[in-house]
Assembly symmetry: C2
Homo-oligomer: 660 residues x 2
């Protein structure tokens, strides 16, 4: 154990294990999570192999192997609780992905939720035995977030009772689905349904794409891997071009909409149910933001505790880089953010389960708010975590750039969350639509409930006034007052956006143009709303914490999160008259104080996230702090070191010398 | 040609060729640059091979091949002007690096500048014939930016007249030098010189590391590749562990400091000259920031002109995504930044040449300002470009994540500039040191000249006053007024940091602690100073532009750059009393207006950067806009598509089915 890092742990003011239990949701959950993690870590079949040293094809191969083993082992061990499956898989995968994750995440669930009893009887056993390995093919080369624009067609032919699937244009080629390229033999294809000469919009079709015996592509199916990406090397994201592919009428998922044998289309009773999955996945992504950022903070903060650099005092040893104020200012607000997002993730998960309980009993009333909340928070947290990971990486200096730090892997694996499951700007605008609608309802005298109830308040309180002439509301040491300030800022920005939209409507050709011409302000209003929600949830989590020393350190983190946000957005708070100019300087001073308060607890705060070395896979983020020894060992294994003299020497360098 | 993108070009209000000439520094320079680019593009030896499909070892192999060919061809064609060599190499390299770039960038220049005439006679021919292939080995596993902390030792042994080189600890292993791992047979090793029992600090030693005949590592030399990184796959960044490696006394570079045969140390007359190279490289990096960002903008803006998505008007075709205000708000400020940085890069290059002329005539007076400017601007521009590339990538939706967009490559190749040649935060603090020193000199009655002369002005003008009670200085449509506002903001923040430092000195144990405890504010002051310099240089470039239509579009870009910066830092401007609250809303409106003004010129503004398709290597950024066709062609070449059925099917998937 590196003595620098041991000393850090001795200096902590709180019991790290109690904090870990809080993060897990209870001591029993911590115990069971660790038990599951150990099962994987001890398992000789999952012995550590560094994917960084493999070619893309080898990485894909290794991922398929792992996924296949995982399926067998989960059954063997009888692990069936979704949370436990999640724990188990996350250790196996490490920082990467499953090669056929969509089989379990989308193919099976979609069959479960959207097919008839008869269809389920046929397809679920096939899928569970992995005879039918499936994926979910929605996005196309030319079409992403706006799914109504999809071009793939499924035309019903009553003479044979079949659908004929086609990709009529280049831009209609299915593109991106995970596991589509090489792994899957089936895909649920989203296509525009045509029957009796009319288009009835998007529907889902179970489409065999490869032979279940030979795995060769079926006639009319052009399928393959879309090529290397920023990350996700181990996943065969694929393309699919359909050329008059015929599937039986029974392959359309018909729980809701139907096509009768004669081609008659029967409308679905409601479309609210498909809505649910999307909301669920977005809610889960909030938790992913917390995990990606907390892993990055763990690596950067542990490394900063053992890395020595430069001089603070001439002649004295080089200090730990964690002692530099600029380093603290980079990392500690991100640490606070990771905690904040963790608690927001817990809240989203709880809320989702509560509301889906209501939905199962036919009560859809909570859905619009949850939809708006999950869209905005997905965008807010992924953007923040995405930028934060890179700050952590660069805070590790040059070594952060090495794959041995794992920070490049964390980044490239995480960054797609800003785009998939709804592009972030589009998500922010969906939340804005809800906020503007709520604002108008409040103005029309309706009483709002839930998270937007702040829009009820008389707006005269936050009219722009000269900054100096009115009392300010922020008390910079009081979390409750800060929550209030974030709330009033959000209210102000929602009002400004709504009024701006109103103004635009007077000049614009259409509602849509007015909306587009206000979209910068609308995104800003959503952002402020989400920021308020995060500060509020962090503050309310504190009220649940009994342990005094833990309450104290989390309170410091929450204050840091809130005040740092005020500083970064000081223009908004000044503009809304919530802050005075002299207070800005006080906030700068207070922030420095909070950094110093956190300094002795920083390492223990990341230890509390409780990531095993095997899960971080980072030479810089090791628990024992023995960074350099492990970097050297790792480097020796680089494929370029398999021979002392690389073949390029004989091919090009030696001949070059004779040419000069 | 995609009709969408042709239409964009028809709508431009200016002659793109004239703008290209301005960017190149004259029509003749444009002509010659294109001529050189065509030489590479037409050359059958450099036919396009996509590195994305190769393994790391193959990429390294391909890079060595290219580098070797390039050396031969440059001689063949007689290209020897440094700017022309730069143009030639940049087309050959594309978005990647040379495998032995440091041989020419550091090994040869260091021998040229730091060795005696006798040493030059021996080593320069060897290096020019590539018999001695060299690199520059400075950073160590445990030591980066702070070079005084390096641990490698060179101990003089008078009995054999040799230096004995050692890596005494794990943390002293040389780490990161490009070309060190497999390519080089020599390294200039920076080591602590010991002679006659005393340490005389860092000196440079030409150290043979591999046999010039067999290329095998020499006795006592442990050398290899440091393993995969975020990018730079084609470069063998290496490690070097020295175990009692003996080199002749003559291998120490002795132009300045010397060790006599008996071991007597002779001090160098001055250390100012080594300073120059560093300043040069940092100045050049400003230009790299402009190039990386302008390439990214070219890709994202062209793609946004051909990508259609969602609905603005129900029932109408999907609009180009460049018509969305949020997309313009992401991309156009970055486009303006790319132009700003381009002009700043031109200025830095001119200033460097002017000042190095002075230095050659013994006049060092301009060096401190240039040093401070190059440090700060290196940090300011690389941070902005780094974040901007990722905004461009994510503005391309999912497809930006594919390697076929080239945006991942641009990012991973560029991002190390934030760390190398001086870590950015350290750079900002170096500039801050100069600013604080200048501020104190001005307060002490000295009259400052040059870029910091604004610190001369009576500070009472910018004392904090209640925002409402004093006249504001910004006229939001006047670039001159905006430059003035940026200047006053910088003056204010430098003053605040200097005062805060003064306060800290009253509480702190030492000057160093006070500096550390003020470093957040110092970085902020530097940032504001650099921002002012950039706005000022952009504005003064405009005065050189004669063509009215080009002046007009560049003026729009400059206003956008300046106003966007005010909006993003509105707290600073409000705090300094340079802006009123109602003006903030006016700025938002004005920004929207500027986005609309730029919209018809956006594609032509990126065309003017004049990057050939072969240089961008991006399916999304193609000149002809035929994106989807080329993505599909590219994907088919993915190595995973070499067989229809991947071997993992037979190894794992088929067996899995029988186990379930």
């Amino acid at each position: 154990m590196n003595p620098d890092i041991s000393r850090e742990r001795e200096n902590a003011s709180f019991d790290q294990e109690i904090l870990t239990n809080i993060l897990d949701g209870g001591a029993e959950k911590t115990r069971r999570r660790r038990e599951i993690e150990s099962m994987v870590i001890r398992d000789p079949d999952f012995q550590h192999e560094d994917l960084n040293f493999l070619s893309r094809s080898e990485r894909y191969d290794a991922a398929v192997k792992k996924s296949a083993q995982m399926i067998v082992k989960l059954r063997e061990y009888g692990i069936s609780d979704p949370e436990e499956i999640y724990s188990y898989k996350s250790v196996v995968k490490g920082l990467h992905h499953e090669s056929f994750g969509l089989h379990y995440a989308m193919f099976l669930p979609t069959i479960n939720s959207q097919s008839t009893a008869e269809q389920q009887r046929k397809w679920i056993p096939l899928a569970e035995l992995c005879q039918a390995l499936g994926t979910y093919a929605q996005t196309e080369l030319g079409h992403g977030t706006h799914i109504r624009g999809l071009e793939t067609t499924a035309t019903y032919d009553p003479s044979t009772q079949e659908f004929v699937l086609n990709s009529p244009t280049i831009s209609s080629i299915k593109w991106w689905p995970g596991g589509l390229g090489k792994t899957s033999n089936h895909a649920i294809v989203l296509a525009q349904l045509y029957t009796q000469g009319k288009c009835f919009g998007l529907h889902a079709f179970i489409t065999p794409i490869r032979c279940m015996k030979t795995h060769m592509p079926l006639p009319g199916v052009v399928v393959g891997d879309i090529g290397p990406k920023f990350g996700f090397d181990e996943v065969d994201n694929g393309y699919l071009k359909l050329e008059n592919v015929r599937i039986p009428r029974e392959n359309m998922l018909m729980k809701y909409a139907k096509v009768e044998p004669d081609g008659t289309y029967v409308k679905p009773p409601s479309d609210k149910l498909t809505y649910g999955t999307m909301v669920f996945i977005r809610s889960m992504i909030v938790g992913e933001s917390a995990r990606a950022l907390s892993k990055s903070c763990t690596i950067a903060i542990r490394y900063s505790a053992v890395r020595h650099q430069s001089e603070l005092h001439p002649g004295e040893p080089e200090p730990q880089i964690l002692d530099y104020q600029t380093q603290q200012y980079k990392l500690f607000p991100l640490l606070a953010t990771a905690y904040a997002f963790h608690f927001v993730g817990q809240y989203m998960s709880k809320t989702y389960h509560r509301i889906s309980g209501d939905i199962n009993q036919g009560d859809f009333s909570g859905l619009p708010e949850l939809h708006a909340l999950s869209a905005g928070l997905k965008a807010f947290t992924t953007w923040a975590a995405n930028a934060g990971i890179e700050v952590c990486r660069m805070a590790c200096g040059g070594h952060g750039y090495s794959r041995c730090s794992s920070l490049p892997d964390i980044y490239v694996t995480f960054t797609p969350t800003c785009t998939y499951e709804g592009e972030n700007t589009v998500m922010m605008l969906q939340t804005a639509r809800y906020l503007v609608k709520s604002y108008k309802q409040a103005r029309a005298g309706q009483h709002l409930t839930g998270i937007v109830s702040y829009l009820n308040e008389p707006q005269s309180r936050i009219q722009p006034q000269s900054v100096s002439s009115r009392p300010t509301v922020i008390s910079i040491n009081d979390l409750v007052s800060l929550v209030e300030a974030y709330k009033l800022r959000a209210a102000k920005l929602v009002e400004m956006a709504a009024k701006s939209l109103q103004m635009e409507l007077q000049h614009s050709k259409s509602n849509e143009d007015a909306w587009n011409n206000t979209s910068i302000e609308l995104v800003r209003a959503s952002d402020a709303h989400c920021h308020y929600v995060v500060v509020k949830l962090f503050a309310s989590k504190l009220s649940e914490i009994g342990d005094t020393s833990i309450h104290s350190v989390l309170n410091t983190l929450a204050l840091l999160y809130a005040l740092h946000g005020v500083q970064q957005n000081s223009g908004d708070f000044l503009q809304a008259g919530l802050l005075s100019v002299p207070q800005l300087a006080q906030i700068s001073q207070r922030l420095k104080g909070l950094l110093s308060e956190l300094r002795p607890n920083a390492v223990s705060l990341v230890d509390a996230f409780d990531y095993r070395d095997e899960m971080l896979n980072s030479a810089l983020g090791r628990y024992d702090g023995n960074v350099y020894e492990h970097m050297f060992e790792w480097a020796k294994r680089s494929p370029l070191n398999h021979t002392e003299v690389h073949e390029s020497y004989h091919k090009y360098l030696k001949p070059l010398q004779s040419k000069l």
